[in-house]
Amino acid sequence: MTLTAYIEGIGLLGPGLTDWPSSQSILSGQQPYQPSKTILPSPVLLPAAERRRSGAIVKLTLATGLEAIAAARLDAISLPSVFSASGGDGENCHAICEMLASDDRQISPTRFHNSVHNTASGYWSIATGAMTASSVLCAFDASFGAGLLEALTQVVVDNTRIVLLACDTPYPEPLYKVRSIPDAFGIALVLAPERSAKALAKITANLTDASADRLADTALESLRLSIPAARGLPLLHTIAMQQDGHVVLDYLDSTRLAMAITLY
């Protein structure tokens, strides 16, 4: 069964990748990829209280999601969302576990409500005013594929535009040693069920047994492998190359996503 959608906007933020327009020449190989620490913008759209309480994953998703939606010339308030992350707010999780292992277990209310996996989705809805449905997913290393598949089924079955926010942020030590996500990375896609003048590309997806494609650039390939959300980079690479193509995106150990991409 093939799922079809139209990409209308892309948001990208990660180490050495500051937004989609400036990253295209890096992904296409016209400029060298130079990794540097991800800089997360302040989430200015949030009310002051929420801004103070927001962690990296909130800042990351607001940056990538708003970039994609602005590119699609849409208003976030009307878009359902799919958030997919391999983990939640790592710093916050560490702080809670540390306190719970100490003599003083009185964690703060903010720490607690920021511990839920849907923290980014909650802040997103507060920032954008979107009262739409928001699916919040986790599939460990398969989180990008799981998020894209969920987003595509919403586009196709519910016949709606949607914003997909795939994101990951690092844990501090000692969790970093057992889950080594090196930096914050996010991809956001606005997907539509019909082709419009805004469409950048048509994508179709199938489940496949084929292995996931690798990126030729060793530094970008290392990024793809080290951060689950970056498993979506081969899709963006094909779009950046401005050529129609096929890619296989990583998903579960038992199945991957075969994508056909037609550029407009």
């Binding site: 069964m1 799922l3 309480r53 391999s86 983990g87 939640g88 999780c93 809670i96 576990c97 719970l100 292992a101 277990r105 009185q106 964690i107 703060s108 209310p109 720490r111 607690f112 409500h113 920021n114 511990s115 839920v116 996996h117 849907n118 923290t119 989705s121 909650g122 802040y123 809805s125 507060i126 954008t128 005013g129 979107a130 009262m131 739409t132 449905a133 928001s134 699916s135 919040v136 997913l137 986790c138 599939a139 460990f140 398969a142 799981a146 598949l149 969920e150 595509l152 089924t153 079955v157 519910d158 030590e173 000692p174 040693k177 057992v178 889950r179 489940l207 579960l252 038992s254 199945t255």
Partner: protein
């Protein structure tokens, strides 16, 4: 949407292992809540702890998944022939055509809480026997379940706090409608841990006694744990001949976000109202056609006041309703799944379960809140699940013979 058939379902919570015990507890108005003796917790509260979870043995080839949450998942899968039903579905549809969509809020975080007590004094490192991916990670319970059954189709965890295992029905329904799968294991598993106990305590939302939803004197929730599963399949062709009258169908789903606050509901309940209205719209039903509402009913001041106001405005006083959290406690990410199964029992057995522990109904809430069990034919029910981050989900189930 086309209705979907819950061909098999099961639930394990503090009121019982499997459907027979769960139904008996509901009929007998028995609560599973008891003073908290979990781990080293020093809070004056009650919990709905499932007995015997730590005696469950994870199969040796899946040993890396061993943690309380997956033990509870396995205990749940062993009840009511559910595992056998999954094996039969694999034979019928193929391992790649069955999806896994499970909800959890805290997954195996307890494993990490315990590991932090055993950090290396010199280096701060976590113990070498701690396996993050298969235990702590939010995906763990779905990954365990798919490996347990050898499933190779799509799999995901939905983790939107206390709406998680209601929203799994939505993801599964779409993937079935898109033709990617023929059947889905849906449900939720959440287990006791210190993060939620001390976390809700920090918010002043933990009651020191068994929670009293919709009571005028309600003063907070009681935390529980549960594993609930359903096997979703398409409604067979010619349902009149091929489906028994008491088969349970998923008829509608409504989802929304409050866009208001991380841990308080919108004061007018705009988001929860949208979720209930959308579920009605999707199922093509009028409010008067709903025979029972299983309320989110956490017994916090805010939740019940807002939910009660919205239910009263949408359904009036005519629709019997209750929160079953006085029996099971609030099982957080498993609540949507557990309460879906309770709704299925209500449909099949004509039982509207009373809300336990509630003595004096909040006079500000104009509802037909059930203080006693009621026995009557039940054709269609609605279940509410709301959560932190302002996430809302309402599900509507119906009995095939009356749908």
């Amino acid at each position: 949407m086309n209705p979907l058939w819950l061909s098999h379902f099961t639930a394990t919570s503090s009121i019982g292992r499997g459907l027979d015990q769960t139904l008996a507890a509901l009929c007998q108005r028995r609560t599973g809540l008891a003073p908290c003796t979990f781990d080293t917790v020093d809070l004056a509260t009650v919990v709905g702890e499932v007995a015997g979870v730590d005696e469950v043995r994870i199969p040796a080839h899946l040993a890396e998944f061993d943690c309380r949450n997956n033990r509870l998942a396995l205990l749940g899968l062993m009840q009511d022939g559910f595992a056998e039903a999954v094996h039969a579905a694999i034979k019928k549809f193929g391992a790649q055509r069955i999806g896994v969509f499970l909800g959890t809020s805290t997954s195996g975080i307890l494993q990490t809480e315990l590991a932090y007590r055993r950090r290396n004094h010199a280096t701060g490192a976590l113990p070498v026997d701690f396996i993050y991916g298969a235990t702590h990670n939010t995906f763990s319970v779905a990954d365990f379940t798919r490996h347990y059954f050898g499933l190779t189709g799509p799999a995901v965890v939905v983790s939107s706090a206390c709406s998680s295992s209601a929203k799994v029905f939505s993801s599964a329904q779409r993937m079935m409608a898109a033709g990617l799968i023929d059947a889905a294991i849906v449900g939720g598993v959440d287990s006791l841990c210190l993060t939620t106990l001390y976390g809700f305590n920090s918010l002043g939302l933990l009651s020191e006694q068994a929670c009293r939803p919709y009571d005028a004197q309600r003063n907070g929730l009681s935390i529980g744990e549960a594993a609930a599963f359903a096997l979703l399949e398409s409604v067979p062709e010619h349902p009149r001949e091929n489906l028994s009258n008491d088969a349970v169908l998923l008829l509608g789903i409504g989802e929304s976000s409050d866009a208001y606050h991380m841990s308080s509901p919108h004061p007018d309940g705009l988001g929860s109202r949208m979720a209930m209205q959308d579920a009605l719209k999707m199922s093509g039903l009028r409010p008067s056609e709903i025979d029972y509402i299983n309320l989110h009913g956490t017994a916090t001041q805010n939740n019940d006041a807002v939910e009660g106001k919205v239910v009263s405005a949408l359904f009036g006083q005519a629709t019997p309703c209750s929160s079953t959290k006085g029996a099971t406690g609030h099982t957080l990410g498993a609540a949507g799944g557990l309460e879906a199964v309770i709704c299925a029992l209500a449909l099949q057995h004509g039982l509207l379960p009373a809300g336990l522990n509630t003595q004096n109904l909040d006079p500000a809430l104009d509802l037909d809140y059930l203080l006693d069990n009621r026995e009557q034919p039940v054709a269609r029910v609605l279940s509410n699940s709301f959560g932190f981050g302002g996430t809302n989900c309402s599900l509507i189930f119906g009995r095939a013979g009356s749908a």
